[in-house]
């Protein structure tokens, strides 16, 4: 799980061009949107694409998506349980 979280942080930094951040700067339980990493709607679409391309997970349900994108921890948990890649 820790390896997956680290990998996920690296992929997010790369996909969203968060050049000022390192994986160590991103807390596992900090909110991803708004006050946490401060991501917005464009970034949300990038994260959905990241999930699909890298882990074969297609997100279509807003209710489910909001739970998954709460933090790095919730994302990693969902990926571990549902990945097809």
């Amino acid at each position: 799980m820790e390896t997956l979280k680290q990998e996920l942080k690296e992929k997010i930094i790369d996909a969203l061009n968060l050049e000022d951040l390192t994986p160590q700067d991103i807390e596992d339980d900090a909110p991803i949107f708004m006050e946490g990493l401060g991501l917005d709607s464009i970034d949300a679409l990038e994260l959905m694409l990241l999930m699909e391309k890298n882990y074969g997970i297609r997100l279509a349900s807003p209710a489910e998506g909001k739970q998954i994108f709460k933090s790095i921890h919730t994302m990693a948990e969902y990926i571990q349980a549902n990945r097809t890649k």
């Binding site: 917005d40 709607s41 679409l45 990038e46 959905m48 997100l59 807003p62 998506g65």
Partner: protein, 294 residues
């Protein structure tokens, strides 16, 4: 990049007014409603002075018109906007329009192929009119609607566009992003305006009519991140009950060799060039009623 200045408007009129307008248009000819606009526009200009000033500055600074011509141009712009607005409701009321679109083959060619594509619209003329001519039985088109739009307008559009395999997605909150993502994953078409900042403050700078302006990053990023083809669509009013549109393919095979940043810059500059061309041809049909240029 992020920008502070963005559109924060809404469509005018209460739902009952929209229903009443549709009712009137079923009884009276469209030109009678245009006459009404002739009288209403001066009051609208007076009370919506922010929108009026934005158009005045656009005509003075970007089109290079003199003060009097710009003032009269503002009136003409608001009148034309009113007629386009009424044309939309006239279509809801069942009236027919002549809409000629150049290069529709670009749309139908991509519709026949596998995978989705992105259509970039603008606030010039009346983009919705081209929707009556386009539409593919093979691929659903998802048109992104601004959250400020009244539900009565969306409901009427849904009713008319349903037959054309066009779905409207309202950009409210975060939910629509999941619908949009699923549509793109299913290889559908997404139509989105690319000349107005809303939702996200991230932008691309492009030269339009000789000055820098902020274009929203989102629509361009949508296409580049997924390597999707991009078509720009423009549709302007040419006369009573007539519109002329054109489609332009913006992506090219050579772009495959470029970095993501370069692709974004190239696509936005090509869109800006086509928008400039359209505004040179139809200067009075610019309906982005806020200070668009830096």
């Amino acid at each position: 990049m992020t920008g502070e200045r963005q559109w924060s408007g809404k469509t005018d009129g209460a739902p009952w007014m929209h229903r009443a307008l549709i009712g009137l248009l079923k009884v009276f000819p469209l030109w009678a409603m245009y006459l009404l606009a002739v009288l209403v526009v001066p009051f609208y200009m007076l009370f919506n002075h922010k929108g009026y000033l934005a158009i005045y500055h656009y005509l003075r600074n970007r089109q290079g018109w003199g003060p009097l011509k710009s003032f009269l141009g503002c009136y003409a712009n608001h009148f034309l906007f009113s007629t386009s607005f009424m044309d939309r409701f006239a279509a809801f009321a069942g009236k027919k329009f002549q809409v000629d679109i150049a290069h529709t083959d670009l749309f139908f060619e991509l519709s026949e192929k596998e995978g989705g594509f992105v259509m970039l619209a603008s606030h010039v003329g009346n983009h919705e009119m081209s929707g009556y001519m386009l539409g593919s039985p093979n691929k659903r088109m998802n048109a992104i609607a601004f959250p400020g739009e009244k539900s009565s307008i969306r409901a009427n559009r849904d009713r008319i566009f349903g037959d054309k395999n066009i779905r409207l997605i309202s950009a409210d909150g975060m939910d629509w992003l999941f619908t949009l993502n699923a549509a793109l994953s299913d290889g559908e078409i997404v139509s989105i305006h690319a000349d107005r900042l809303f939702g996200s403050t991230k932008f691309l700078t492009a030269n339009i009519l000789g000055a820098d302006a902020k274009l929203p990053l989102g629509p361009f990023n949508l296409a580049v991140s997924r390597d999707l083809p991009v078509i720009a669509a423009f549709s302007v009013k040419t006369g009573y009950k007539s519109y002329r549109g054109r489609l332009v393919r913006l992506d090219t095979p050579e772009m495959a060799l470029l970095s993501k940043k370069e692709k974004l810059e190239l696509l936005s500059s090509r869109y800006a060039a086509e928008l400039t061309k359209t505004l040179r041809e139809s200067p009075l049909q610019w309906y982005n009623f806020y200070e668009f240029w830096d």
